[in-house]
Assembly symmetry: C2
Homo-oligomer: 232 residues x 2
DNA sequence: GCACAACCTGACCAGCCGGTCAACAAGTTT
DNA sequence: AAACTTGTTGACCGGCTGGTCAGGTTGTGC
């Protein structure tokens, strides 16, 4: 990817590059097709066309449709997990949860297809990633819940059930990806602009943080007159 | 089936009953199969088996797979629309939005399949119900937004963007249906009990209502030292 | 420049899909 | 009880699907 490429790549081999590049092409096409048609509605032919490769070539890199699908689902899951780094290192809920919401909103915008594939997978009973739910996700969630409990004990936020807070964050942030089409339709048929995404992120953060009592009343309670612009 | 059938139903006709009953059976089976397999993954044979009818019989009542699917999607949409009745008649956001959240949570529990089918449809770009989005849903949403704006102008809640509030409510309440499997997995593999559903509803209501400044500080924010809420 | 492995692909296949249809059964009207 | 409408169904079909494979091409190590 960088300056060393010229030299060391001769060693690494052209072969490796070809494989990596083709897998990338296929995964990217697959993500989109699976998102738009669902697992059942997607066809290898469609993915192949979108990737610009013959169908038989897909089966060279990915043995079965399900293998390819699994890789797509795992990808988005990994991206989401990484988004939680900001969560842990934060000293208080406003910054920790706030940063997490921001990260999740950013991912919803940058990886809407992956989000949809995940949603579809879970909705259908998680036939291929049940092990992730029971393993990684469960453990990850417990960790986050513990962190939130700590904040509650320290009096930094209201004593809510951390579980339902997590669900609300997941639901709301992913909604902007999964239901993007509906949102777009309700936005005069146009995708959200940069400004609108920023506003959406701010609103979600504000409502949730205020909702869990983690905002130091910066965003005024009702009937404030001294205030600045109302956010739109 | 019942006592009145013998007498009055002779007029209404046995025929009507048969049709109604079979359509009900088919729609019920279809809702489940479409929810669990997606439109592309669902097969008429599977729906027929689940309804206990021969496949050819399905095509007698519903010309095509798409017709059947459309009816399922329309059903859940109508149910959701009806849930907003409580919204309009309410004098303040706490009761209006609170009742709406409660209604939506109840529907998520009672019609999880319909919710999933809708989610799937929208995620795939709403190929068959785009007209509903642009017509009924858009109009309905504008009406609700106006109501919220009125509450804001009256100083009954914080000046948030009504649109994002609606999205948050939809996302969060429907999450309990659409991602029910994930929630169940994180709940030690067991479906939420009656008590847990009640608690979930209460949490969602509390966080959102507090988040939009519509709660009269019953659930106290942390570190509060003065007593009552401001005049109005 | 040869041997070998990795990569590529057109042609093909068995199986399943949505949908049709002809023949028949049941219910209703007259 | 005949004439007619509505409901029922097994058998069938063309088309598409995921997946295979033989035979070819390209890159790599020696």
């Amino acid at each position: 990817m960088d300056e060393t490429a010229q030299n060391s790549r001769t060693k690494a081999g052209r072969r490796t590059d070809i494989r990596r590049e083709n897998e990338r092409l296929i995964l990217q096409a697959a993500e989109k097709v699976f998102a738009e048609a669902g697992f059942g509605g997607a066809t290898m032919q469609l993915i192949a066309d979108m990737a610009g490769l013959p169908k038989a070539n897909l089966h060279y890199y990915f043995a079965t449709k399900e293998d390819l699908y699994r890789r797509v689902v795992e990808n988005i899951f990994q991206i989401w997990l990484r988004a939680a780094d900001s969560f842990d290192s934060a000293p208080d809920p406003a910054s920790g949860i706030g940063a997490y919401i921001e990260a999740k909103m950013r991912i919803s915008r940058e990886h809407p297809f992956g989000s949809k594939v995940w949603a579809s997978e879970v909705m259908h009973g998680a036939p291929v990633i049940q092990d992730y739910l029971e393993g990684t996700l469960r453990a990850w969630t417990e960790g986050r819940i513990a962190a939130i409990r700590r904040w509650i004990d320290q009096g930094l936020m209201a004593p809510i059930d951390p579980r339902h807070l997590m669900y609300m964050i997941w639901a709301t942030t992913q909604h902007y990806a999964d239901f993007g089409h509906q949102i777009e339709t309700l936005n005069a048929g146009k995708p959200l602009s940069d400004r609108q995404w920023k506003a959406a992120t701010a609103e979600v953060k504000a409502i949730i943080l205020r909702g869990i009592g983690a905002l130091p009343d910066v965003l005024a309670p009702p009937r404030r007159r001294t205030a600045r612009q109302t956010g739109r």
